[in-house]
């Protein structure tokens, strides 16, 4: 059930966020229990004499996960580019989950700023994971400027509304068969993660649904199982839907049956 990104083999198709857990210990235990191979992190202003950043970083390193820093909160391409450059030095990785907020209410990404930042960062040698909507044209533009991974939302970040536009997600998968597609946001239940994987998506990123659960450790395990189940189902080949019933039990030989 591993996932290949660049030259790295990732042990799980579940990507987990590191925010909003009740405690650092609960965060660490949940990440480990989920079996995730990639964990998302961020960077924030640090006051003089504070040391929280170093402590957090040590915990993340102890999980053995690959680290995917984000540019959460950035509104412009310029802010996102500088944040990505700082993240590269801080986390010693060229991976960047590129976010450019276009609307404060929905946290919908600004596609113009996103595209501009992606173009610059791809040219600077970053592996860009752009957080985008399900819009096919923007997705294609991101691919054209060098992105081999896309992270469309299922619904707004932290909303737990699940998949709002399955048609569009399915279309992205069909139209961009060679791109690594990761649903990034809005997943609230393990069953929704399984559904995303059944659509042929390469991975799912989950944060709030695990971190804010009554038991984040068990929820991490539940999402791991769901992602594996969905992927296995996709690889096994789902049967087509039909309008009419088709008996699964053989009809010939049915008692009292007359053709």
């Amino acid at each position: 059930m591993s996932l290949r990104i660049g030259n790295k083999e990732i042990r799980s198709r579940l990507i987990i966020g590191s925010a909003q857990y009740p405690s650092p210990e609960e965060m660490k235990n949940s990440i480990i229990a989920s079996g995730a191979g990639i964990v998302t992190v961020s960077l924030r202003r640090q006051n003089p004499n504070a040391n929280e950043g170093a402590k957090f970083w040590e915990i993340i390193k102890s999980t053995g996960c690959e680290v995917l820093p984000n540019t959460a909160g950035c509104k412009t391409a310029k802010e996102a580019i500088t944040t990505a450059q700082m993240a590269r030095e801080l986390f010693n990785t060229t991976w960047i989950k590129l976010e450019t907020v276009g609307d404060e209410y929905t946290l919908q990404p600004d596609p113009i700023e996103l595209l501009e930042a992606a173009r610059v960062l791809n040219n600077e040698g970053f592996e860009v994971f752009p957080y985008c909507t399900e819009d096919l044209s923007i997705a294609q533009r991101l691919v054209d400027c060098g992105c081999s991974i896309l992270m469309p939302w299922a619904s707004p970040i932290g909303s737990a509304q699940g998949i709002l536009n399955e048609y569009a997600l399915r279309t992205l998968r069909e139209r961009l068969p060679d791109v690594t597609l990761v649903v990034d946001a809005g997943i609230g239940k393990p069953s929704e993660a399984a559904r995303v994987m059944e659509l042929g998506y390469n991975a799912v990123l989950v944060n709030s649904a695990i971190a804010l659960a009554d038991d984040p450790v068990d929820m991490g395990k539940a999402f791991a199982a769901a992602v594996n189940a969905g992927r296995l189902g996709y690889e096994a080949g789902l049967i087509n839907t039909r309008d009419m019933a088709r008996p699964s039990t053989p009809v010939p030989g049915t008692p009292f049956w007359n053709e």
Partner: protein
């Protein structure tokens, strides 16, 4: 001279190098990254970067994120 550090005004010594400024404030430079006026400053340039009046410094560290 006045500068801004993470959005807050504070005083800095005129002509001070970024490396000295960070050391004076006890920043662990191995666990933070810096931008001045929106431009990333890599660690190797701290000792040759002079802070100017009204500069806006951003100093960030690893943090939880989704």
């Amino acid at each position: 001279m006045k500068i801004k550090l993470n959005g807050e005004e504070r005083e800095a010594v005129t002509g001070q190098k970024l490396a000295d400024f960070l050391t004076e404030l006890n920043y662990d430079t191995g666990h933070c990254a810096t931008a001045i006026n929106g431009e990333f400053i890599t660690r190797s340039l701290y000792s040759e970067t002079t802070i100017q009046e009204n500069d806006e410094l951003e100093i960030v560290a690893p943090m939880q994120g989704g």
